[in-house]
């Protein structure tokens, strides 16, 4: 208020002192503007920092990293070793195998792999956190899908469903996002090899895509729909659009990963043995390939 009073005063008077006053006023305004900008930036910095810390509690964490087009997403069923892999890439100097437990929040960090900076995101494997994964899929440059090679045959349906959701995602299909399927826990003697797992997955996807086509959404295409007064018409169309390319592979042909437009690699690894099987190099080079 003081400033404006001065401004009024300075514009009315014509003496040299008033021009000095005018100069002063402008100076003050500029300074306050700068202060304001600094404050704003500072506060934004705090919020991103605090949100990075408290990523589990807020969607804003997703938003903050949503813009990053250099996201590499780690996903997969629960207890497969996603957080361990995240730790290996995030903390290259960490020698011992990282101890982890079931995650309840997204892990996200800026990491330098070779020459490129990536935003490495590890989403919890729990079914309830599917929406976390779906929030990152549109921006993901590459997806690492970690599988527990020991228990995969018992949990084949649920594992494949997760993988199917990733592969059939609209954004993944449009951008032809490369997918690396990592068959973890190869140190265990009862672990299945990546060739065997690939066969299992293909077989299961073959069955799954049939039942996906029979989804309740298919009702919309059959029979006349009397316009029931529901306000979700748009959303249904949206959902239908999401499902447009729901069918993986070619109709009438047995599903194979080679039929997909996006490159899919199936490798082996062992987080517990310090990545001695497969090794970190394969992952690093895969990530480097993403950014070429």
């Amino acid at each position: 208020m003081d400033d404006t009073a001065r401004l009024v005063e300075s514009t009315t008077s014509t003496s040299s002192t008033s021009s000095l006053l005018l100069f002063g006023t402008i100076f003050i305004i500029v300074i306050s503007g700068i202060v304001w900008i600094v404050l704003q930036r500072q506060s934004a910095a705090i919020s991103t920092k605090s949100l990075a810390l408290a990523s589990g509690t807020s969607v804003a964490a997703l938003q903050s990293s949503k813009k990053r087009s250099n996201t590499v997403l780690i996903t997969g069923p629960i207890g497969a070793g996603k957080t361990a892999l995240w730790c290996y890439i995030r903390f290259p100097e960490n020698k011992a195998a990282p101890k982890t437990q079931t995650s309840m929040a997204v892990n996200s960090a800026e990491v330098k792999v070779g020459d490129v900076n990536i935003c490495l995101v590890d989403v919890p494997g729990h079914q309830k956190h599917r929406f976390d994964r779906d929030a990152f899929l549109p921006v993901a440059r590459g997806v690492v899908f970690v599988i527990d090679s020991v228990s995969v045959s018992q949990n084949l349906t649920s594992t494949t469903e997760l993988l199917y959701d990733v592969l059939a995602n609209k954004h993944v299909q449009q951008k032809e996002t490369p997918v690396l399927i990592l068959c973890n826990k190869q140190d265990d003697p009862s672990a299945l090899s990546n060739v065997r797992i690939k066969g299992l997955l293909e077989e299961e996807i073959d069955r799954l895509r049939a039942s996906r086509q029979a989804d309740i959404g298919s009702l919309r295409n059959v029979g006349a729909i009397t316009g029931a007064a529901n306000d979700n018409g748009d959303d249904d169309d949206e959902a239908a659009a999401e499902k447009a390319n729901d069918f993986l592979g070619y109709d009438g042909k047995r599903f194979s990963f080679e039929d997909l437009p996006n490159p899919v690699q199936i490798n082996e690894s062992s987080m517990a043995m310090n990545m001695s099987i497969g090794g970190m190099e394969q992952i690093h080079s895969w990530i480097a390939d993403l950014f070429e």
């Binding site: 705090i46 810390l53 408290a54 509690t57 290259p92 437990q101 309740i216 959404g217 009702l219 306000d231």
Partner: protein
Amino acid sequence: MLDQFTITTKGGVVLWCKDYASVGPYPVDSLVKDVLIQNTRTESNSKYISGAFTLQWSFANELNVIFVAVYQKILQLPYIDDLLKHVKKHFITRFEQDIKQLVDPSCLDIPDFDAFDEEFEQVVRAVEDKERRAKNDRHGQPRKFEETRKFQTTAKGAKLELEELAQSSEMDLLSKGRRQGGKMRSFAERHGSENSAKAGKKGGRKVKENRVWDGQVTKESMQALDYSGAKSDDGIDSGRSVSALIDESSRGIRTADGIYEVADVAERSSTAGAGADGADGNGEFVLLGDDDSASDHDDNGMSKGSGKLSSTGGIGSVFFGMFKSLTGGRVLSAEILAEPMARMREHLTNKNVASDIADEICKTVAKSMIGVRVGGLQNIRKLVEQSMETALTRILTPVSSTDIIRDIENAKQKGRPYTMAFVGVNGVGKSTNLSKVCYWLLQNNKRVLIAACDTFRSGAVEQLRVHVRNLRALSENQDVEIFERGYGKDSAAIAKDAIAFGASDGFDVVLIDTAGRMQDNEPLMRALAKLVSVNSPDKILFVGEALVGNEAVDQLEKFNRALRDFSGQSKPRHIDGIILTKFDTIDDRVGAALSMTYTTGQPIVFVGTGQTYTDLRKMNVSQVIRALLRA
């Protein structure tokens, strides 16, 4: 005593872990899965029993860290709450910088927390000693009513309230002193009492500082507060000084000023040194901020301390408060969240969410937000809304697969029909939605048998017969039949016969229509439990109408309880999924969807949106949440 104690980030990285005994397949994992992610309702909200172990936990939301204690189920360890509180305080004081490094891109190694071993042992010993002393004190004489848990629960609220009252009056005094101190210098002379003199001193200082417009102000004023605390050596003040220290250190980081950070680290180590000195000198380990008034209060001592500080600052002068809120660094406390949470709760209730459920959800969300540091320009209500959205998405996202066609294929491979039972109260639309599901299955070339097990309401069988006739006319393959035995018979036996008939005649699916029953009608509920235990259908679908409000919880709980209590089986069944009907009639008051999924933890498989056979949808989670949060 204690079997395991772990300190982990919410992301799942174990920072520090102490195993006293092998605990087998990680009980902490099941805690995270069942309670922290899935919000399974537990008996008490801070204890969870997994296998042979009891788990208790505590959050430090500001740093995104969880503390979990694991001990044998048969043991009663009353001091675990205390232990968690103290370990949290010690760990955070010592390692705050290290934990923050985890999000620093330049940090290439997981910081080493092994050094905490010794301190942890000391904390355990100190807490146990304290417990033993307390036990000895009351040894010999019968337990007074005041010491029982019952009293705690009854009087806790009252005590808390009292304390808050006392605090706020103290605060008032402080602020009054400050304001007056600004106006007149002779404040301290006029008031003789020690407390107000202190306040006056602070007030005077404050006014002087006000003219310096930078971050120093807060630091200075905090030191001023510290100064008063450092004089007396009791627990409250040491706790306060710790919290001031923490607040300050984060401030140092935020301003990204190298000098701050250095000064801060030095200070920290000096206090750590002081703590060690104390331990050496007395031969006894000193617990940080060990006083009872603090333990009764909010379990997050850190946030409480800083909350207090910021509030005194805010009352002190409007301008200063404004400045502070601009620079951010507010730590969310229960008090700050109370108002937006109450508003949110009311909003949810208005959207037809059952009131207990709205209450519980708000409490969980508030708990997960306490201690989080927010930037000044962030609107708290907006933050609450965002957290609420995440929480609601998590609740509504189904855990088990809702791919029924896939399950039908699996059953077919085993050479038996897939069975689904439709249960619910009267008039919610069981038969109608059964026929819609039937239509959908027919479209997918399944052979469907409908078992008319509503032998009670006249016209029920005829209604199904009409549906079957219609469905046959509609679909090309006409693979639908009705299995009926008239009225007044035992429905469990009819269902059994129907399934046997379906198996022998090569049907893919048997849909069992049951009579509607009110949840309080015990004979009918017993009959339903019998039907379920005799036939053990693959899916028990609860049909509920979206119009229901508070009643939803009662219905679902009683149906589940009936299935459990009256089954007579060692592994009783429960409701596997929900069909939400009449969804087209409720506009955006979609609360029933939330109430039902929250109560059972089961997914909403279908949503009925009209009268025709095609009016069956999958629930769109994001759409429901949008409707729920829409003003």
